[in-house]
């Protein structure tokens, strides 16, 4: 919604709002905010929540095959955390006046986006380690910054999430290190997983900001703090050293350290692949949404039953026992 010129009260409000942002203040649910700010936040937060929920599927795929009881429990706990993260962020989004049912509808109907990375399949146990190392690692680079986002409920959800996310990345890297130091078959398994997940992970940060239509607003309003390219570079710099530490090769012949900039230069990302995946033609887009739709549809009678029971209890004047 763009108004070429705001009515006088809104213009004053908008100016005051910008001043609050510039002063580093936190915006809370009942504060006045430009409709565009609210809209961008709902879009960004709901995408984030959807990603957490869809992200449960590629990892959940290996819970029943985890090769030790400890790994089984750790993986189950991690996927459970992701459900929790989705829940925190859906609840934070609800403070902006959108119900969870509407948000879920948007995801299941294909209208809403979620992170491209979760449209890739987990083919081996090593993928589980790589997801923790790369994907959670990338998420941490993104999220630590979001813990200071201008919108209070989002920032607070992010603080909780960051605390839990660090354990996920460490777990992932530990799996990778164990495999890299293991049998020849395990080493081959983890190197193969690196080869498949590296480029999609770099794509997670999104297109260069010149090609990213929403970045401008989000940066101006302190919801994003750094550009996509800056965050992507930070991730590469961190991860190269970690790969070297476990003697794994990143599948980029152009990767080289640039002493002048102090950063690792890397090769070209295939943005055509990113576009395909984001628009529904990745390896598992349809399967991911089908799984979520099935869970939602098959769960309807359960949700209805609980609602009906609560209603009966109210009518009988007996609150269900606590």
């Amino acid at each position: 919604m763009s108004a070429p010129s705001l009515p006088p009260e809104d213009a004053a409000h908008a100016a005051a709002f910008d001043a609050r942002i510039d002063a580093g203040e936190t915006i809370e649910p009942k504060d006045w905010m430009p409709e565009r700010y609210r809209h961008q936040l709902v879009r960004m937060m709901s995408q984030h929540a959807h990603s957490e929920i869809v992200g449960m599927l590629p990892e959940g795929n290996w819970i029943t095959r985890a090769p030790s009881l400890r790994r089984k429990m750790c993986l189950l706990a991690k996927v459970q955390d992701e459900a929790g993260h989705g829940l925190y962020i859906y609840c934070a989004t609800e403070t902006l006046g959108v119900g969870r049912e509407e948000l879920i509808d948007q995801l299941l109907s294909g209208k809403a986006k979620y992170s491209s990375i979760f449209n890739y399949p987990t083919l081996t146990w090593a993928d589980i380690g790589i997801i923790g190392w790369f994907v959670d690692g990338a998420a941490i680079v993104n999220q630590t910054v979001l813990a200071k986002a201008s919108y209070g409920p989002y920032a607070r959800a992010m603080v909780r999430i960051c605390k839990e996310e660090n354990f996920h990345k460490r777990q992932g890297y530990e799996i990778v290190a164990t495999l890299a130091a293991g049998t020849p078959a395990q080493r081959a398994m983890v190197q193969d997983a690196v080869n498949r997940w590296w480029w999609p992970t770099l794509m997670m940060f999104g297109p260069s900001d010149a090609n990213s239509p929403n970045s401008g607003d989000l940066l101006r309003w302190r919801v994003k703090r750094f550009s996509n390219d800056e965050l992507r570079q930070r991730f590469v710099d961190l991860t190269v050293a970690q790969a070297q530490a476990v003697s794994l090769t990143l599948p980029d012949p152009k990767l080289r350290y640039d002493a002048e900039t102090g950063h690792w230069a890397y090769g070209d990302i295939d943005w055509a692949e990113f576009k395909r995946v984001i628009n529904g033609n990745g390896p598992c887009n349809r399967e991911r949404l089908a799984a979520r739709r099935a869970a939602h549809d098959q769960g309807a009678w359960v949700r209805d039953a609980a609602g009906a029971y609560a209603e009966k209890q109210r009518r009988r004047g007996t609150a269900p026992a606590a």
């Binding site: 607070r156 549809d297 609150a319």
Partner: protein, 104 residues
């Protein structure tokens, strides 16, 4: 046996939102932790415990229907919260109580 996908899902009115408050340890205040959806108080408590207290570090939980919470408006901030230093009788230390009498 999936329910028809076109049927309206009444979940939003059947599973309302609850605000969760957790107490980290004995004597500490309850702090707002976030929200959960639940159809009734018992499941609200259980969900709150599973979502916000499963890592331990919580000794007590409160759940409150979000609709029951009354909040001040941001615009009221000044007069509503002003410590009113010019009115000392609001502060407990103004009152002298006889020795040995518990006030509460």
């Amino acid at each position: 046996m999936a329910a028809a996908a076109n049927e309206p899902d009444h979940a939003s009115d059947q599973w309302p939102l609850w605000e969760v408050f957790t107490q980290a340890k004995d004597g500490a205040p309850h702090e707002h932790a976030g929200s959960v959806h639940a159809p009734d108080p018992e499941l609200a408590l259980q969900n709150a415990r599973d979502v916000y207290a499963r890592r331990g570090q919580v000794v007590s939980l409160w759940v409150v229907p979000s609709s029951a919470i009354i909040a001040s408006s941001p615009g009221e901030q000044g007069p509503f919260f002003d410590p009113a230093d010019d009115k000392p009788y609001r502060h407990p230390q103004f009152y002298r109580t006889p020795r040995g009498v518990r006030v509460y």
